[in-house]
């Protein structure tokens, strides 16, 4: 992605948005929700693109991350920011339980992860003493005030989730450009050929799974403290899987920033534009948009936006 463009976008995000919408809790709230989706979308795309694994169960990591963080903060009084990081770690740890699924291919892997998501959700419902059961956890501690900026408020939350998403995307980009990224890319077609030149392919895939889980868990943890409430149906809702996938595809999951662009455009357009027009049926438009995108620009929005340069960059996105 073009350096200058990136920097301009970051400046706009860190300075422009707060100046424009800082006062408008509603719009800022929508943007935060969109970025939450974006964070998961980046993590999903990273796994799909580098690991070559399509997951239908990222809600599992989202839920585990959010519960870990919320429980640590409420029951053990861990500082919220620390708890959030540990939420990511928790999700990463939970992904280790999924390593056996790495042997599975295509839809088999995708559904195995979905099964894990269901299992974690049911556990969260049944482990009442820790998770509060179906009732969930109300009034989860919010982010604290730091140097006069109240991170418990909309603007603070925005800055946190924005930073998470940006760092995730940059990490993704860095890996993709590294020899690790090359090796992962190489593995898609001929895994054996990479193994005989010394690439520990399974380890690399596992690493991608764990990283993807960490990012997703981190985002989930953020969301728990931002909404300050959790219950199993919400934390493990299939929405946390489905929307990010839609967003990633929509924005172009073969690019680094596609998922972010996709999440922002889908969510904001849906909520700000379509919802007022058709208060009830607006999800239908979302469906139509998705289909149209697949049929007319399968690469997603990002490639569509920059058709010309794409020719040269093609090899860069695998």
């Amino acid at each position: 992605m073009n350096r200058i463009l990136l920097i301009a976008a970051l400046v706009a995000a860190y300075v422009g948005v707060p100046l424009l919408f800082g006062g408008n809790a509603y719009v800022l709230g929508l943007i935060v929700a969109a970025l939450t989706i974006a964070g998961v979308a980046v993590a999903w795309a990273l796994l799909g693109n580098l690991g070559g694994m399509v997951s239908f169960g990222h809600a599992a990591f989202f839920g585990v991350g959010s519960y870990t963080s919320a429980v640590l903060a409420m029951k053990l009084g861990v500082p919220v920011f620390a708890a959030m990081l540990l939420g990511g770690v928790g999700a990463a740890v939970s992904s280790i339980a999924m390593l056996p699924a790495l042997r599975l291919r295509g839809p088999y892997f995708a559904l195995a992860i979905l099964a894990y998501a269901h299992i974690f959700q049911i556990l969260a419902t049944e482990m009442t003493p820790v998770t509060g059961g179906a009732g969930g956890l109300l009034s989860i501690p919010r982010f604290p005030k730091v140097l006069g900026l109240d991170f418990g408020e909309k603007l603070g939350g925005y800055l946190i989730v924005l930073t998470i998403v940006v760092l995730a995307a940059l990490a993704y980009d860095a890996i993709r450009r590294s020899t690790w990224g090359l090796a992962l890319k190489a593995m898609h077609d001929t895994e054996v050929a990479t193994r005989v030149v010394g690439v520990p392919s399974t380890h690399l895939k596992a690493a991608m799974l764990v990283l993807s889980a960490f990012i997703t868990g981190l985002v989930g943890a953020f969301n728990a403290h931002f909404i300050s409430f959790l219950d199993p149906d919400y934390a493990f809702s299939s929405g946390w899987t489905v929307l990010p996938i839609a967003a990633a595809i929509f924005g172009g999951y073969r690019t680094v920033w596609g998922p972010v662009v996709g999440a922002l455009s889908i969510y904001l357009v849906d909520q700000l534009l379509f919802k007022p027009i058709l208060p009830h049926g607006h999800q239908m438009i979302l469906g139509v948009l998705l289909c149209a995108m697949i049929l007319f620009s399968p690469g997603g929005l990002m490639p569509a936006l920059r058709r010309r340069p794409v020719k040269e960059n093609r090899h860069a996105h695998a």
Partner: protein
């Protein structure tokens, strides 16, 4: 450096290798010949770890390879090429070598990469897409290059010369010899063309029905009646003698 003892491989009921035993000394070059389906490639797969033997011993410089996955063997110094070239998807030639060097040799050494590109005469293709923009010779060369980039001490080459027309074949042969002497490698080459073998390798192994039926100097081996009977390519034999 490499010792096989009674190595045996079964695919379901079929016995692809019945107790193969031989050893390769440091810096030695061996030609591996035999009719199709004799088990040559299977032998390479066993050594490089792609296939697990059902029985037998397999040691490399005193350590047993049996429990090690492919990538660990590669890091120990066993490099191999595939009969059908397997370039890394949508990577450039240089990227192919970078991956092999980074993971196989555990270092980043652009100078050595360039050296390999020069020896294999791939310099001008270095930034082409390896899957879509190479000719057969270059594909074969890249196979060797990837193995070399892992800085092996034993190089297993699976028909890297097959399918090349005589002129480029001779050139390629010279390159291989250069590589071998430059890096002081032990080499095992699967090759049908006896002349090539004879030119490159002082020692020849003949494999038939999963068994080593002859082992010795080219002219000794190619006069062996069993070999002649087993080996289909009489014409090439004639050429050799």
């Amino acid at each position: 450096m490499l010792t096989l003892e009674g190595v045996q491989v079964n695919f379901g009921g079929v016995q692809a290798l019945k107790s193969a035993s031989f050893s390769v000394a440091e810096g030695e070059s061996i030609g591996l010949v035999g009719p199709n389906g004799a088990g040559k490639t299977t032998l390479f797969n066993v050594i490089s770890g792609v296939v697990r033997p059902t029985a037998g011993r397999l040691d490399f410089r005193g350590t047993s390879l049996l429990k090690l996955p492919e990538w660990k063997r590669a890091r120990l110094g066993i490099g191999r090429s595939f009969q059908i070239p397997r370039p890394f998807g949508h990577c450039t030639v240089r990227e192919n070598l970078l991956v092999a060097q980074r993971f196989g040799a555990g270092k980043k050494d652009p100078r050595r990469i360039d050296e390999i590109l020069d020896i294999l005469n791939l310099r001008d293709k270095a930034d082409r897409d390896a899957t879509t923009e190479l000719a057969l010779t270059e594909h074969k060369a890249l196979e060797v290059g990837k193995a070399l980039a892992t800085e092996p001490s034993l190089l297993l080459l699976d028909e890297v010369l097959a399918g090349l027309e005589t002129s480029s074949k001779r050139a390629f042969m010279e390159r291989l010899a250069a590589v071998r002497d430059r890096y002081r490698l032990a080499m095992v080459i699967i090759e049908h063309d006896i002349a090539t073998i004879a030119a490159l390798c002082p020692r020849v192994l003949v494999l038939n029905f999963g068994q080593i039926i002859a082992d010795g100097s080219p002219d000794a081996v190619f006069r062996d009646p069993d070999v002649i009977r087993s080996y289909t390519g009489e014409t090439t034999l004639a050429e050799a003698s």
